[in-house]
């Protein structure tokens, strides 16, 4: 009736593409401004992200982080909750991963450690989301504030633990010892031979992220719980009318959300760094907000948006490396422009495109 005026490929393919091109055009202007060749810059960026196995590997490595944090934001979003605390939940999730790895890495192989680490990540991340969730459900505290506060609290907690409790003795690094084999996820390069990811740290966590995406899809769109989450998010009054318990939905949703954030640590800690270190979350939790929204809170969209951001991170690093005049700050600007054009300004070109794709309407022609 009113949906689907545009062919799907236009809505989900052409329009995002045009937006991306716009973002790169504007970025090109900035590149031009600092006296570099924008076409070369874009070429390096895209080549760096996708042009060779190792680049792809890094892109996917970053994408793994964004998938987890993006899913976390999206799940909460479906319940109408704005979980801004991914950063802290992932940080504390890292603690769960690290404790599992430190305890087991010397005695069992990685695949025995893995389920414990997954549980550790999810449980710790969920625990960190639980208090804000509980406060929102029972005391009406605004989840945005409490999750922001819990980010700050997590920073202090983790510095304390890393410096005073977990640091290896005699080292000035605020980090744990490096895990042995039993605490390391295999790199994708080591377990398949289709693509050569070189030394890129993309690892089994990517597979976990994809599984998590599928599970999130199933939970949200195919289970009663998901039905209730979406109901509550879309119309809380109707959800109560339908016999759903808001407190239960809020808490369960936030536990899932926090657990997903926490699992981001699997990729960084167990997959790549092999030790727990300070500030390893590095803003991935915040970027997850943009990823979730650009992916329209749908796992497929989130995977695509996560890959886009992975490309920006990896391609950006390559760009900064190849063109010394382009600093990492330039990369941040380009990321900002992409978020702006592909995310916030997604309707900029829509009216024009709608005009192109809808046949002109002569008022008198249609009858009946």
């Amino acid at each position: 009736m009113s949906a689907g005026q545009l062919p799907r490929w236009v809505d989900y393919g052409l329009i995002p593409l045009i937006n991306l091109i716009a973002a790169f055009l504007v970025s090109g202007l900035v590149v031009l401004l600092i006296g570099e060749n924008p076409i070369d810059a874009v070429r390096v960026l895209i080549w760096g992200a996708l042009g060779f196995g190792e680049g792809v590997g890094f892109t996917l490595f970053y994408a793994t982080n964004f998938i987890f944090t993006g899913l976390a934001v999206a799940v909460a979003f479906h319940a109408g909750l704005f979980n801004i605390g991914g950063e802290g939940q992932a940080y504390v999730g890292g603690l769960g991963v690290a404790l599992a790895c430190l305890a087991l890495d010397r005695i069992v192989p990685w695949w025995v450690t893995l389920p414990v680490a997954v549980a550790g990540a999810a449980v710790m991340g969920a625990a960190w989301a639980f208090i804000p969730a509980w406060l929102q459900a029972k005391r009406g505290s605004h989840i945005v504030i409490t999750t922001i506060m819990f980010n700050f609290i997590s920073y202090s907690l983790m510095v304390y633990l890393l410096v005073n409790v977990l640091a290896k003795p005699g080292s000035m690094q605020p980090e744990t010892r490096t895990f042995e084999e039993g605490g390391r996820l295999p790199f994708l390069n080591d377990i398949q031979s289709l693509v050569d990811f070189g030394t890129a740290p993309v690892n089994l966590a990517l597979v976990l992220a994809l599984i998590a995406s599928a599970l999130v899809w199933v939970i949200i769109w195919r289970t009663r719980l998901g039905y209730e989450i979406r109901s509550f998010g879309a119309n809380a009054t109707a959800a109560v009318y339908a016999g759903m318990s808001p407190a239960r939905i809020i808490i369960i949703t936030m536990l899932i959300s926090g657990g997903l954030s926490g699992m981001m640590a699997l990729n960084e800690i167990m997959g790549s760094q092999h030790r727990l270190l300070i500030e390893f979350v590095a803003g991935y939790g915040f970027v997850g907000i943009a990823v979730a929204l650009m992916g329209r809170a749908h796992p497929v969209g989130i995977i695509l948006a996560a890959i886009l951001f992975g490309m920006l991170y990896q391609g950006g690093a390559e760009l900064a490396f190849e063109m010394p005049a382009i600093s990492r700050d330039m990369i941040i600007v380009i990321q900002g422009l992409v978020i702006l054009f592909a995310g916030a300004l997604e309707n900029l070109f829509r009216p024009a495109i709608v005009r192109i794709f809808t046949p002109s309407r002569a008022p008198a022609v249609q009858a009946g």
Binding site: F58, F61, Y62, Y155, S156, M158, V159, Y160, V163, A167, P169, G170, S171, M172, Q173, P174, E175, T178, T199, A200, P201, E268, S272, Q273, H274, R275, L277, I278, E279, F280, A282, Y313, G316, A317, A320, F321, P324, S327, R328, I331
Partner: protein, 309 residues
Amino acid sequence: ADINPAVLYDLGGKFDKSFNEAAFTGAEKFKADTGIGYRDFEIQNDAQREQALRNFAKRGQSPIIAIGFSQANAVEKVAKEFPDIQFAIVDSVIDLPNVRSIVFKEHEGSYIVGVAAALASKTGKVGFVGGMDIGLIRKFACGYKQGVMSVKSDAEVFENMTGDTGAAWNDPVKGGELAKSQFDKGADVVYHAAGGTGIGVLQAAHDAGKLGIGVDSNQNGLFPGSVLTSMLKRVDVAVAKTFEDAKNDAWSSGVQVLGLAEGGVDWALDDNNASLVNADMKAAVEKAKADIISGTVVVHDYMADNTCP
């Protein structure tokens, strides 16, 4: 020999007003002196450490110098992969045949500025503002305290840390407030080891008519007349020296511990603080320095046993 040097900065970035910037200064000096260019890279996250080191190594850059203890794991790993390339790391020790480890005795440098602080203080109370509560910063604080106490054993040393995230190194506002809180408690000299945050500390000292002490590079000129001195940590010298050694085929691996004796740490005296440092003070500081170099005085290193006497 022909060399192709490279520098890898830590998360703080090339211009952190601290040791990364000092490394940059050293590399620039080497370039100016020899005409040999270099590559450098600022990482954005932990995954880029190894990636950048490998990128350098694959392109045949050597020596590659990594700044900051956080690079240790990455350097260790990549250095093993490229045994023919020379690596160096600042602020950490890696035991590999192709890695030079450069560490500084920040506690010694902090000790002598502590002596200066105690002598300049009229109230017998001095302050320290650190960036983050981590081992390295405690090492600064602990050396400083010992220096102060060596002059006035009943002196009070206030110690504050800024925060628990990267922002702690770039928060002049908080730095200023921390310094003010120390002035309110009676301190009249404050030493910082907090990167960009320290600018706020020195500013607050300047505003309140008290004295600040700079760190890493010579910050005396930031607020002339208000910065008592600066504790120099000569990362610049170390970087330039490392490049030169490679160029002159004098490369050596192993650990270089740079203290007062080696000129790796020092205090800064120049026109900007000439009026603040009187002859007595100068003599006392130089004496402390000499005592440490000679071994008469041993400054306890916090990192040795995680305690401060």
